[in-house]
């Protein structure tokens, strides 16, 4: 792990599917809602992440999809403790992240990093690109000495496909795609194991998105990275991911192998989400039947009882407002949190469908 200079960590380690690098259990991030006025009493909570169990396996790309406000970004941040979890636990390579002290947390920051959404905002406009990439090296005392650091910066720029001579230039001199490459180089500077990409391609143009997706994929393979790819773009997530987790209103509602999920989604929300993605083919668009959900996502400050999706679900039936469904195996490691796949106390739940 301390292989300074060794930039390619060799061929991918043999993957044990149960080799979990990041494990979240019952993870909660609640933001307090305070009353306005002098006392600012706590009146409630926005339950951005509300009891998430998630395993990220070593060496895999796990896609995390959901719509705005579902808590996917907060979850990504909480796994790195960039946002403080208010409950539950996160284990990173066996150690409890939520219990780390300041010093240990900074050590974690080398091994677990984030690539941010907006490449225009995520680079300090007053630092050169080289200074930005050198920051993790300085912070963690890697490649000490000015010359060694400069060499490492050049190497990183090359790795992400930017001319190393550009190190002395400022962010505004770069296009969005190049900036995102710089952001990736910064993230990779400390040779991390785990990278969270938080909507990393969302603000890029289509043609540039493809460049960055290709880059992420090749880096992930070459460096054996474990990637959590957080995005609202299902097609991009499908393209990059080995497995996909779907979030809705603070919960993971479905996790499956990526191809399996896009082929046979089991949760009604995933089904609606998939059917709502516009396909770039007029023929397919005419042929498909779209499940148009009614209404809006409820506020995370007022989560419905029982199943959170029931207020928009066309299959909602008797147990849904009563029982909060847990993720359950629906076959072959594919899990979904939906009563349609069996509720204790009902013979055939499908019979009660509306």
């Amino acid at each position: 792990m301390n292989g300074s200079g060794a930039q390619v960590r060799g061929v991918q380690q043999v993957r044990d599917p149960q080799d979990v690098l990041v494990r979240a259990r019952g993870l909660q991030v609640h933001f307090p809602v305070r009353s306005t006025g002098l006392r600012r009493r706590r009146t409630g909570a926005v339950r951005a992440v509300d009891g998430v169990d998630l395993d990220v396996r070593r060496g895999e790309v796990l896609g995390l999809v959901g719509e705005s406000g579902c808590g996917k970004s907060t979850l990504g941040n909480a796994l790195l403790r960039l946002v403080e979890p208010t409950g539950g636990s996160v284990e990173f390579d066996g150690t409890d992240v939520t219990a780390l002290d300041r010093r240990a947390l900074r050590a974690l920051r080398r091994r677990a990093v984030m690539v941010f959404q907006d490449p225009y905002a995520s680079l300090d406009p007053r630092l050169t690109v080289g200074q930005t990439i050198a920051e993790p090296l300085q912070v963690h005392g890697l490649h000490p000495g000015a010359a060694a650091r400069a060499a490492r910066v050049a190497q990183l720029l090359e790795l992400v496909g930017v001319d190393p001579a550009a190190a002395s230039r400022y962010p505004h001199e770069f296009s969005g795609g190049q900036r995102q490459r710089v952001g990736i180089a910064r993230a990779l500077a400390g040779e991390p194991d785990f990278v969270v990409c938080d909507e990393a391609i969302a603000s890029l143009d289509v043609s540039v998105q493809a460049q960055v997706l290709n880059l992420l994929r090749s880096l992930q393979r070459r460096l054996g990275l474990t990637l959590l790819f957080v995005s609202h773009d299902l097609a991009a997530v499908r393209h990059l991911s080995d497995r996909i987790a779907v979030m809705y209103l603070g919960r993971v509602v479905e996790v499956a192998d990526a191809a399996e999920l896009s082929r046979s989604p089991q949760h009604p929300y995933t089904q609606a989400l998939l059917s709502a993605v516009p396909l770039p083919s007029p023929e397919l668009e005419r042929a498909r039947e779209r499940i148009v959900l009614t209404g809006d996502v409820p506020s995370a400050a007022r989560v419905p009882s029982g199943c959170r999706f029931r207020t928009r679900c066309r299959h909602a039936f008797a147990p849904c407002p009563e029982v909060d469904p847990a993720l359950q195996d629906v076959g072959g490691g594919h899990t979904a949190a939906c009563h349609l796949h069996g509720v204790v106390g009902l013979e055939d739940p499908r019979a009660v469908r509306t």
């Binding site: 790195l80 960039l82 900074r106 050590a107 920051r109 080398r110 990093v113 984030m114 941010f116 959404q117 907006d118 905002a121 995520s122 680079l123 300090d124 406009p125 007053r126 630092l127 050169t128 080289g130 200074q131 050198a134 920051e135 993790p136 300085q138 912070v139 963690h140 000015a146 010359a147 650091r149 400069a150 910066v153 190190a167 002395s168 400022y170 962010p171 505004h172 001199e173 952001g183 910064r186 993230a187 500077a189 400390g190």
Partner: protein, 311 residues
């Protein structure tokens, strides 16, 4: 910090290039020349001044500007030019020291209050509010009442009264920068708080602070004048522009030059500070800087281009 940055950024050259860019704009060049001039005059005031500051010559009272006395003489027959020259030191000192004091204190307070927020913000900013609530002059007088009159104490007093202004300006700017993604990004790779504060937050919060500095420099020079006028600043008979301005006020209809020349000196100095502040702000912003460089390059090309050709 700067040493570490050296390999990826040829600092010296950038500094020189920045200076050249700054001086390439006529207002900033003018400002720089004026300031260099004032500093030189202040340094060599004894050599520059035609006579001593307090060479009283009752025969020559209230002489208008002329060959003997370029700026005329005052009610005691002292040479106004000499007093303006000898007063430059005081005014510069007051400007730089008083504003420097409030700049350092205010920026630190604003930086910490804005960055850490919560109780620290509340505590620091309430303290600033208390300072701010007093009329500036009253506060300065109170400070001097404790420290005793004199130029140095006047500077400290003025410095204290301007501290809340800098604290507020800095805090507001910091609040904006604190939430920016690049600060989060830097934190996410493990940057410590001091690093975040002084490498990312402060440089990006700088533009309004620079503007405030140039404005405050002007006010400080005037505040010193006011304090001196009521006898709490520079003690007579030592010259300071502010005091001369104040003293000359009574003779404005009779001998305008006593007030006008020190007044002009203040105006020119303040203008120079402001122009330089504007120029600095642009050059310190990489984006503005590139735009400037591009514009310069284009205008250079245009001048060289043979007429009739278009791009």
């Amino acid at each position: 910090m700067s040493a570490a940055a050296a390999p990826v950024r040829p600092r010296r050259n950038r500094f020189l290039a920045g200076a050249r860019l700054l001086l390439g704009s006529p207002p900033a060049l003018f400002a720089a020349l004026v300031l260099v001039g004032v500093v030189l005059v202040a340094l060599f005031d004894d050599q520059v001044a035609p006579s001593g500051a307090n060479d009283v010559d009752v025969q020559q009272r209230l002489q208008p500007p002329g060959a003997g006395h370029w700026f005329g003489t005052d009610d005691l027959g002292r040479d106004v030019l000499s007093r303006v020259v000898l007063g430059a030191k005081v005014s510069l000192q007051v400007g730089v020291v008083a504003v420097g004091f409030s700049l350092v204190c205010g920026v630190l307070v604003g930086l910490f209050a804005g960055f850490y927020g919560r109780w620290l913000d509340t505590a620091l900013m309430r303290l600033m509010d208390v300072l701010f609530a007093f009329p500036a002059m009253l506060l300065a007088i109170a400070v001097i009442a404790i420290l005793g009159p004199g130029t140095t104490n006047a500077m400290i007093a003025i410095g204290i009264t301007y501290t809340p202004v800098f604290a507020r300006v800095t805090r507001a700017a910091v609040l904006g920068v604190r939430e920016s993604v690049f600060v989060r990004a830097s934190r996410s790779v493990g940057a410590s708080d001091p690093r975040l504060l002084f490498r990312h937050v402060l440089p990006n919060a700088l533009p309004p602070i620079i503007v405030q500095t140039s404005v405050s420099l002007a006010f400080a020079v005037l505040a010193e004048a006011a304090l001196s006028f009521v006898g709490l600043g520079t003690q007579p008979p030592a010259p300071s522009w502010g005091r001369m301005l104040a003293e000359g006020r009574g003779y404005v209809d009779l001998a305008w030059w006593i007030a006008v020349f020190p007044g002009l000196a203040i105006v020119v100095l303040v203008l120079a500070f402001n122009l330089l502040g504007d120029g600095l702000r642009d050059v310190l912003d990489p984006q503005q800087r590139s735009a400037l460089e591009a514009a310069r390059a284009r205008s250079g090309r245009r001048r060289r281009r043979t007429p009739g050709r278009t791009s």
